[in-house]
Subunit: 221 residues, 4 copies
DNA sequence: TATGAATGAGTGTTCATTCAT
DNA sequence: AATGAATGAACACTCATTCAT
C-alpha cells in the first residue's frame, strides 16, 4: 500500500516537473517554439519519457491550461466564505486577478497556449461541451457575482449576464495577451497594473445601472 | 498600351486569386496549418509561381492583413465628409464595423493571421513603429473620435484616450476571434450581431461621463 | 549585306555584354552564387533572352573560360615575332602572366569558374580531347619554350617536358586561386606579385640543369 | 558498463558508416551534387537520422576534412621519433603522402570538399585562425622540416619558409585535384605515382641551395 | 520504467529551364 | 528578337511520434 502510494506520488511529481519545464520554456521563447525535444532536455529526461506522462503535445498543453484554471478557481472558491457581496465582491475578484497576475506568470503562459490552441477560448464561448470543470466553475462564480450585483441594483437590470461574463473573461484574456508581448521586467509594473485597473473600471461602469454614481463603482477600495 | 494594361490587370488578378485561396484555407483549417504548398495547390499553380507574386510566406500574410486594414480604413476615411460628430459618429463607426464584419470573413482571417504573426497586435499597443499607414490611420481616426466625444461632454473628461482606444480595438479583435471559432453559418447571424452590439454598448456606457442618460448613448439609432 | 553584317555584329556585342555582366558578378559574389536571374537583371534583359545567346548556364561559363584562354594566347602568340630565346623567353612569359594578372581580373574569374566546373583542369591534364584550340595552343607554346630551354642547356636534359608544362600551368592556376581568396584591393599588390614571382623562381630553379648558377635563372631581368 | 560501451561503439560505427557513404558519393558524383537526401538513401537510413549524427551538412563536410587531416597528421606525428633529419625526413614525408594517397581516396575527397567549402584553403594561406588542430600541426611540421633543411645547408638560406610551405601544400593539393579527375582505376597507378614524384622532385630542387648536387636531393632513396 | 534511436511527412525557399505571345 | 510567366525538381532542415530494448 505504502509503496503504491509513493509510486503514484512520484509519478504526479514527475508530471508536475515536466509541466513546469514546459511553462518556463513558453515564458522564455514562446509557445510557437516549444518542442517536445526542448521540454525533455530541460526536464533532463528523454523525449520518450515525456510521452509516458502525456499522450501527445496537445495533451500536455491542455494540461497547462487546466492547471492555471484550477489555480484561479482556487482563489475564487473562497468567495462564499468571505461573505462579500456586490461591489465588495467585485473588488475582491479584481484583487484576486491582479494578485494571480502579479505573483506568477501562470496567466501569461496560459493565454499564450490558448491562442495557440484555440481551446480555452472555445470554453469562454460558454457553450461548454468543455471537459474542464475548473473553467466551468470560474464561469459560474463570475456569473453569480454579476447576478448578485444586478440583484443589488448596482448593475443594469437588463444587462445580459452571459454577455457580461464573456466580456469580463475576454478582458482578462486580452490583458494577459497584451502583457505577454511586453518585456518581462515591466509586465507587472505598477503602471501596467494601473492601466489594467482603469480598463476594468470602464467595463464595470459599462455594467452599471443608469444613474449610479461613479464613486460607488470604484474598483480600488 | 492596351496590352501592357491588360497584363498588369491580369497580374493583379492572379495576386488577388492567390490571396483569396490563402484566406479560404485559413478560414477552413487555420493559419497554423497554412503552407505555401497548400496555397499553390488550391490556386492550381506551382509553389514556385506563388513566389513570383509574394517574396515569402511572411510577405503574403502581411499582405492579407494590410488588405483588410485598407478596407476598414476606406470605410473610416469617409468620416470627415459625413460631418458626423459625437454619438452619431460612434454609431457610424459601429455600423462600418458590423458591415465589414458581416459582408466578408476578412476580419476573421486577419485576426487569425495577426495572432499568428504578432505584428498587428504590436500595432494595437499604439506605439506604432509599424509601417502600415492604414493601421496608423485607423488608430488616429478612433482616437480623434474619442477626443471629440470627450470634448462634447458625452465621454468622461478623465477618460484616458489611449486606454480607451486600445480597449475598443481589443474589443473588435476579440469579437472577431470568438466569431472565428463559431461554425461558419452563424458567424454573422442576427443573434451574434446583436450580442456584439450589446457588448459594444457596454463599453460605450463605460466611457460615458457620469450622469449621462443611457438613451443618449444608444448605439442603434 | 551591310544589314546582316550589322546584325551579326550587334549580336556579338550582346553576347559580350552578357559575358561581362556574368564576370563582374562572379568577381563580386563568387561563382557559386551566380544565377541566370542575376546575370539577366544585371544585363537589363530578361532571363529568357540570355538563353537566346547561350544554350545553358554551363555553355555560358565555358565561354568565359574560353575567352580568357584566348586573351592569354593572344599574348603568347607574339612570341615568335620577338625572337626571344631561353631565359629571356621565360622572363617574357612571366611578364605576360603578371601583366594579364594585374591588368584585369580575367584570371581570377576563370579559375573560379574552372574549379566550379572541373572543365579547365581536365584541359591541363594535357590529354586534350578538349575542344578549345586556345588552350591547346597555350600548352604547345609553353612546351616549345621548355624544349628550347632544354636544348640550350639551361633546363635539365632529363626534365620531362609534359610534367614541367603541367606543373607550370598548375602553378599559374594555384596562384590565381589563392589570389581570388584575398580581398580585392590587395590581389595585385606588389607584395603579392613578389610572392608569386618567388614561387615561379623556385619552379624555374627546379627545372634547371645541375650546376647552373642561380643568377642565370633570374626571373626578374 | 558493457552495454553502454557497446552502444557508444555502435554509434561511432554508424557515424563512420554515414561518413563513408558521403565520401563514396563525393567520389562518384562530386561534392556539388552531394545532398543529405542522397547520403541518407545510400546509407539506407532516413534523412532525419543523418541529422542525429551531424547537426548540418556543413558539419558533416567539415568532419570529412578533419578526419583526413587527422590521418595525415598521424603519419607526420611519428617524425620526431624516427629521428630523421634533412633529406631523409623529406623522403619520409613524401612516402607518407604517397602511401596515404595510394591507400585510399581520402585525399581526393578532401580536396573536393575543401574547394567546395573554401575552408581548408584558408588554412593553407597559413594565417590560420582555423580551429582544426590537425591542419595547424601539419603546417608546423612541414615548416619545421623546411627550416631544418635550411639549417643543414641543403635548402637555399634565403628561401622563404612560408612561401615554400605554401608551395608544397599547394602542390599536394593540385596533385590530388588532378588525380580526382582521372578514372578511378589509374589514379594510384605506378605511372601516376611516378609523375607525382617527378613533380615533387622538381620542387625540392627548386628549394635547394645553389651548387647542391642533384643526387643529394634525390627523393627516391 | 525509461530511453536511444529512428523516421515520415512536412517546411519554406531556390533556380535552370521552357514556352506562348 | 524578346520576354513575362510558369514550373519541376531539388534543397537543407524540423519535429511529433513510435518502438525495441
Amino acid at each position: 500500500m505504502g509503496i503504491s502510494e509513493r509510486r503514484e506520488r512520484e509519478k504526479a511529481e514527475r508530471r508536475t516537473a515536466i509541466l513546469n519545464c514546459a511553462k518556463e520554456l513558453i515564458l522564455v521563447q514562446g509557445v510557437e517554439h516549444l518542442s517536445m525535444e526542448s521540454i525533455a532536455s530541460k526536464a533532463e529526461i528523454s523525449k520518450a519519457t515525456v510521452y509516458l506522462y502525456f499522450s501527445s503535445k496537445e495533451d500536455l498543453l491542455k494540461e497547462i491550461c487546466e492547471e492555471a484554471a484550477k489555480l484561479f478557481h482556487e482563489h475564487l472558491k473562497t468567495f462564499p466564505q468571505t461573505g462579500l457581496k456586490g461591489m465588495a465582491a467585485i473588488r475582491y475578484l479584481w484583487r484576486a486577478y491582479v494578485e494571480l497576475f502579479g505573483q506568477s506568470n501562470e496567466m501569461i503562459i496560459v493565454f499564450q497556449v490558448r491562442s495557440f490552441m484555440n481551446s480555452w477560448m472555445s470554453a469562454i464561448s460558454l457553450e461548454s461541451e468543455d471537459r474542464s470543470p475548473y473553467i466551468d466553475n470560474i464561469l459560474l462564480a463570475i456569473k453569480a457575482l454579476i447576478d448578485e450585483c444586478k440583484a443589488e441594483g448596482i448593475f443594469a437590470p437588463n444587462l445580459d449576464t452571459t454577455t457580461a461574463t464573456r466580456l469580463l473573461l475576454s478582458l482578462f484574456s486580452i490583458m494577459v495577451e497584451q502583457a505577454s508581448r511586453l518585456p518581462q521586467e515591466i509586465r507587472a509594473s505598477p503602471a501596467i497594473i494601473e492601466e489594467m485597473t482603469n480598463t476594468f473600471q470602464i467595463i464595470i461602469r459599462g455594467f452599471a445601472r443608469e444613474g449610479i454614481e461613479h464613486s460607488v463603482l470604484n474598483i480600488m477600495g
